[in-house]
């Protein structure tokens, strides 16, 4: 399953499928990006990050892809499990020269994994 941009707030997939969550960013000066997972009643949990000098980074079952040409970021989750059900946010360090280390969050995508 795949979501497109920040305008599709929900993504529903079957257990075992791969999930792709997308995020668009607007500031070409953004140099650092993070994906967070937020479960109900909890704070954002760090999943994976990527710097702008990279276009791909892999973690355990997750991969982040960065396409600076079209200002697009995606999170791929392999073999999605019910425990992956949560809201996923991309966040960017938009312009460290002017805004320091503040993170700007996207609107989030609700991922639902069906057994």
């Amino acid at each position: 399953g795949e979501s497109v941009g920040l305008h599709l707030p929900t993504l529903s997939v079957q257990e075992g499928d791969n999930s792709i969550i997308n995020c668009a960013y607007s500031n070409s000066a953004s140099d650092y990006f993070i994906w967070y997972k937020q479960e109900s009643g909890k704070g954002p949990q760090f999943i994976i990050d990527i710097r702008s000098n990279m276009d791909k980074r892999q973690g355990q079952r997750v991969t982040v892809l960065l396409n600076k040409t079209v200002k697009h970021l995606s999170l791929q989750i392999a073999a999605t499990q019910p425990g992956d059900s949560a809201v996923y946010f991309c966040a960017e360090n938009r312009d460290p020269q002017t805004s320091g280390s503040r993170l700007t969050f996207g609107e989030g995508t609700q991922l639902t994994v069906n057994p």
Binding site: Q45, P96, S101
Partner: protein, 114 residues
């Protein structure tokens, strides 16, 4: 695994009253942050803090807000005279570096203004 802890988990306060939200950042982290999340909306930056002073703040962080690190472990957010629109989840975060370092979040304090 070290984590950011926040207290209380839920705070109910009358409009106009002062409220203090507390956070214990990860022990070897040097940069501290407050964010808020109004129900159903995205997480918004409030303020960052380093070396006992504010590094930057957003337009939300007006004169009613203040932050303090009263000792070597706690980091607090004070809202002097709460308004209804201050109702939100408030998250504390900390990181080991200035930029290009992951910020780790606590589970938040739900602030309800009556």
């Amino acid at each position: 695994e070290p984590e950011v802890t926040q207290t209380p988990s839920h705070q109910v306060t009358q409009m106009g009253q002062e409220v203090i939200l507390r956070c214990v950042p990860i022990s070897n982290h040097l940069y501290f942050y407050w964010y808020r999340q109004i129900l159903g909306q995205k997480v918004e930056f409030l303020v960052s803090f380093y070396n006992n002073e504010i590094s930057e703040k957003s337009e939300i962080f007006d004169d009613q807000f203040s932050v303090e690190r009263p000792d070597g472990s706690n980091f607090t957010l004070k809202i002097r005279s709460t308004k209804l629109e201050d109702s939100a989840m408030y998250f504390c975060a900390s990181s080991g570096g200035y930029s290009n370092q992951p910020q780790h979040f606590g589970d938040g304090t739900r602030l309800s203004i009556l």
